[in-house]
Symmetry: C2
Subunit: 423 residues, 2 copies
C-alpha cells in the first residue's frame, strides 16, 4: 500500500475536521484507493494556545519549515485563511514540488498568477475545490466535467451569510439590521460582517469561478460589487408581488466576447431553481453551450462540508500520477463595465398628473422600455406613492442615466434591482 | 501536440452531436489540453441508410473490426444503445487496451462485472458519465468529488419523460393517459413508453449510481420498481393540499448496513429542492456523512447534453496517464426488501360509524401511526368518502400488511404513495 505523508498549514476548525474525517474514513479510503494518508506535521500560530482539536499535540509545530521543508511530506493542505502568509507558503510548497490542497479563496484570488505559475513551473499538483462553496464540487465541474462546453454564464448564491439574511427578510418581512443582529447572535455572521454583507467574499470566489469558466484570469478587482446593506423589506415585498425572490448573486457572463463579473442583490423568478435555495445553502447555476442549464446545490460552508472537499481533493491528488492543471491563459482583456438585464425599479413619486409620463418618457428616451408597472400605498397626506416598474432587458448604464436625469423633487428614494433568470 | 484517434460505435443523433461538438470546440480543447481528437471510423448498422448526420460518409463502416481491431484507434466511444452487441464490443475494446467512453446505461447495468473486470484486467480506461443523467456530472461526483463521504442516501429524478408527465399532471390536474398521449405527440415519450413509465430506465441508472455510492455492485434485478401508470389526478391533488409534490424518485439508501434500492412514485414537500425540478429536467439529491445535503440539477437527456458528457469524458481520458477506476468490490449482499418511510394513504371508505376507528386501529396494530388525516368529497348517494392519511415513519411491510387486512367492502381503491424529504 502506498503511504503519503501530509503536512497541515493551519489547525483550526477545518484542520480538525479534516483530521477527524481521515480518522473515520481512512480505512475505507485505503481499501478503495490503495493509498493511506498520514498527517505528519501541523503548523499552528502558537503552541501555547489550548485547542479543542483532535490533532495530537506532538505533531504540532510553530515553524513553517517543519512542514514546507520536510522532504517526506508529499502533500501540503492549507487552511490558515487570509492572503498572507498563506499564499507565500503555498508557493514555497509548490516550488518544492509538493502537491498543495487549499481551501483559501483569498490567497488564490489575490495571487492567482503567482500560484498557478509556480504549480506549472515545478510540475506540482494544485487542488482547490474547498475554496469555493465548500462541499459543492463546482471547481471540478468547471475544470473537468463541463470542459466540452463554452460557458455562457455562471450565476451563484455563493455566500451563505447573506443568503440566510435575505431568506429571513423574505419569509418574515424583517428589516436587514434586525436579521443581521440575529445572525450574529447565532454565529451565522461575523462580529464584523463586512466581508460577507458587502460582497467581498463572493467577489473572491467569483474571480476563481470566472477564471476557470472563461480560461483566462479574471482579477478580483474587476468584479463590480454591491452588498445587501441597502436592501429594504419593502423591496423584498414588492418583488414578491411580482413573483420574484431576492438573492445576492455572483454573476459571470460572456456576451459578444466581453466578460461581465458582478456581485449584487438580484431578483430571480420564484420558479427559477435559484429562488428556492434558502438559508445558508449555496448554489451555482451554469449555462453551457452543449450541456444547457445546470445547477449545483449544497452546503457552502462549515467544517465538515469543507473537509469533505479537502479530503476528496486529497484522494484525487493521490490518484494523479501527472498533475493536470486547468488551463488558464493570461489576463482577461475584455471585462465589461456595462451589461443588459431586466430591472425592477421602485421609487417614491409625487402622485400628480404627468409624473408617470415623465418617468416612462425619461426611460424611453434612453431606450429602456417598461414591461409592467404597479402603484402601491398612496399616502393621502403627503400625496406621494410608490411606483414599481419591471423593465424589458435594458442596458445598465442607460437605466442609471435615465434615473439620474429625473427631477429629484418629483421622484426620490429610487431602488434598482436587477432581475435574472426570467426570459 | 498529442493526437488521439477515436472510433465511434454507433452514429445516430448522439454520435452526430459528439462529432459536431468536436468540430465546434476542438480548437479550444486543443489549446487548453494540448491534445487533438480525430474521429477515424464510425460503425453503423447499414451503410445504405440515408442519415442526416455531420459525419463524413467515407469514415462510416458496417464492420465492427474496423473500429475494434484498428491499433491506431486509442479511444472507442459507444452510443449504439441496447445491451447487445454493445456490451460485447465494449469488452472487446477494453480487452485490446483501448479506452472506452460510453453512454450506455443498459450495457453497464446488465454486464457490470464483465465490463469493470475487463477494464481492470487490461488496465484500460472506462468512462461513463453520459450513461446517467446526460450532462449532469453525477458519475464524477460519486466516483470522485464525494469520495471522502459515506453516502447515506441518493434520491434522483433521473427519467425526464416521467417527470414531464407528472409535472403536467400536477400543474393542470390532467389525467395520466392524456398527458402521455401529448408527450408522445411531442416526441417526449416513445411510441412504446414502457421503459420510461414503468421505471425500467430509472432502474438501470439507479443500479449504476448505487454501485458507485456504496462501493459494491447493486444489480439492476435487486431494484424494487413501480411505475407511474397508476397515478391519478386525485392523488396528485390531495398531495398538493398537504403541501406535497409527486415525483418518480429513484432512491438508494444505506441504513443499518443494509442497502435499499427502489424506483416508485414519491411525494416530496413543496419546499424540498427536488419538488421544483419540473418538466424534462433531472436532478440527483445526495446526502453524505461530511458534505451534508447536495443536489445536482440539469438536462438529463438530449443529443447535446449527452454529447457534453461524452466529450468531457473524452477530455478526461486524454488527460489520464493512468486510468483510475472507481473501486467497486464484489456483490452487495445486504439489499433490503423492507424499509421505513412516511406514507400518504388514500382510500374510498364507507362513511359510517366505526370506519375511521377500524382503519386507524388496523394501522396501529401493525405499528403504523397517523400524523394527519383529511376527509374529502363525501358522496351522499353512495355514502362513500375519500379518506386521506399521512403517517409517521413506518415500515413498508407493516403498512402493506395493515392495508391488506382491512375489509374490502368498507374500504377500497386504496392508493399508497411514499413521502421523502420531510423530516
Amino acid at each position: 500500500m502506498e503511504k503519503i505523508a501530509i503536512g497541515f498549514l493551519g489547525c483550526g476548525n477545518i484542520g480538525s475536521g479534516v483530521y477527524r474525517l481521515l480518522g473515520e474514513r481512512g480505512g475505507e479510503i485505503a481499501r478503495n484507493e490503495g493509498v493511506s494518508f498520514t498527517v505528519k506535521r501541523a503548523l499552528v500560530r502558537s503552541l501555547a494556545k489550548k485547542r479543542a482539536c483532535d490533532v495530537p499535540q506532538e505533531i504540532l509545530t510553530d515553524r513553517p519549515e517543519d512542514v514546507l521543508d520536510d522532504p517526506q511530506i508529499g502533500i501540503v493542505m492549507e487552511f490558515m485563511g487570509g492572503a498572507e502568509p498563506a499564499a507565500s507558503y503555498i508557493i514555497r510548497a509548490l516550488s518544492a514540488g509538493k502537491t498543495v490542497v487549499t481551501a483559501n479563496k483569498m490567497a488564490l484570488a489575490t495571487r492567482w498568477n503567482d500560484i498557478i505559475s509556480a504549480a506549472e513551473r515545478y510540475g506540482a499538483g494544485l487542488y482547490f475545490e474547498a475554496s469555493v462553496c465548500g462541499a459543492i464540487p463546482i471547481i471540478r465541474a468547471m475544470s473537468d466535467s463541463l470542459q466540452a462546453n463554452r460557458i455562457e454564464s455562471v450565476m451563484g448564491i455563493i455566500n451563505g451569510t447573506t443568503n440566510y439574511i435575505l431568506s429571513r427578510m423574505s419569509s418574515e418581512g424583517a428589516a436587514y439590521a434586525d436579521v443581521l443582529a440575529d445572525a450574529q447572535r447565532l454565529g451565522l455572521a461575523e462580529p464584523d460582517p463586512t466581508a460577507d454583507v458587502e460582497g467581498f467574499d463572493a467577489a473572491y470566489k467569483l474571480s476563481i469561478l470566472a477564471s476557470l469558466a472563461f480560461h483566462r484570469h479574471v482579477p478580483v478587482e474587476s468584479v463590480y460589487r454591491e452588498g445587501i446593506t441597502a436592501v429594504t423589506p419593502l423591496d423584498v415585498q414588492c418583488g414578491r408581488e411580482f413573483g420574484l425572490t431576492l438573492k445576492l448573486l455572483a454573476i459571470a457572463k460572456q456576451e459578444n466576447g466581453r466578460i461581465q463579473v458582478r456581485v449584487h442583490p438580484t431578483f430571480v423568478p420564484d420558479a427559477h431553481p435559484l429562488a428556492s435555495v434558502s438559508d445558508a445553502f449555496n448554489a451555482v447555476y451554469v449555462d453551457g453551450s452543449a450541456c444547457g442549464e445546470m445547477m449545483f446545490y449544497g452546503r457552502g460552508a462549515g467544517d465538515m462540508p469543507t473537509a469533505s472537499a479537502l479530503v476528496s481533493d486529497l484522494i484525487k491528488a493521490g490518484r494523479a500520477k501527472r498533475h493536470a492543471l486547468p488551463a488558464v491563459f493570461g489576463e482577461a482583456e475584455e471585462i465589461a463595465d456595462d451589461w443588459n438585464s431586466v430591472y425592477f425599479i421602485r421609487m417614491l413619486a409625487a402622485d400628480e398628473l404627468g409624473v408617470l409620463s415623465m418617468v416612462s418618457g425619461k426611460l424611453a428616451e434612453h431606450g429602456v422600455s417598461i414591461a409592467s408597472m404597479m402603484q402601491k400605498g398612496r399616502d393621502p397626506h403627503s400625496g406621494y406613492a410608490q411606483l414599481v416598474f419591471l423593465t424589458h432587458r435594458a442596458g445598465e448604464r442607460a437605466v442609471r442615466t435615465a434615473l439620474s436625469e429625473m427631477d429629484g423633487k418629483t421622484v426620490s428614494q429610487v431602488s434598482v434591482i436587477r432581475v435574472e433568470g426570467q426570459s
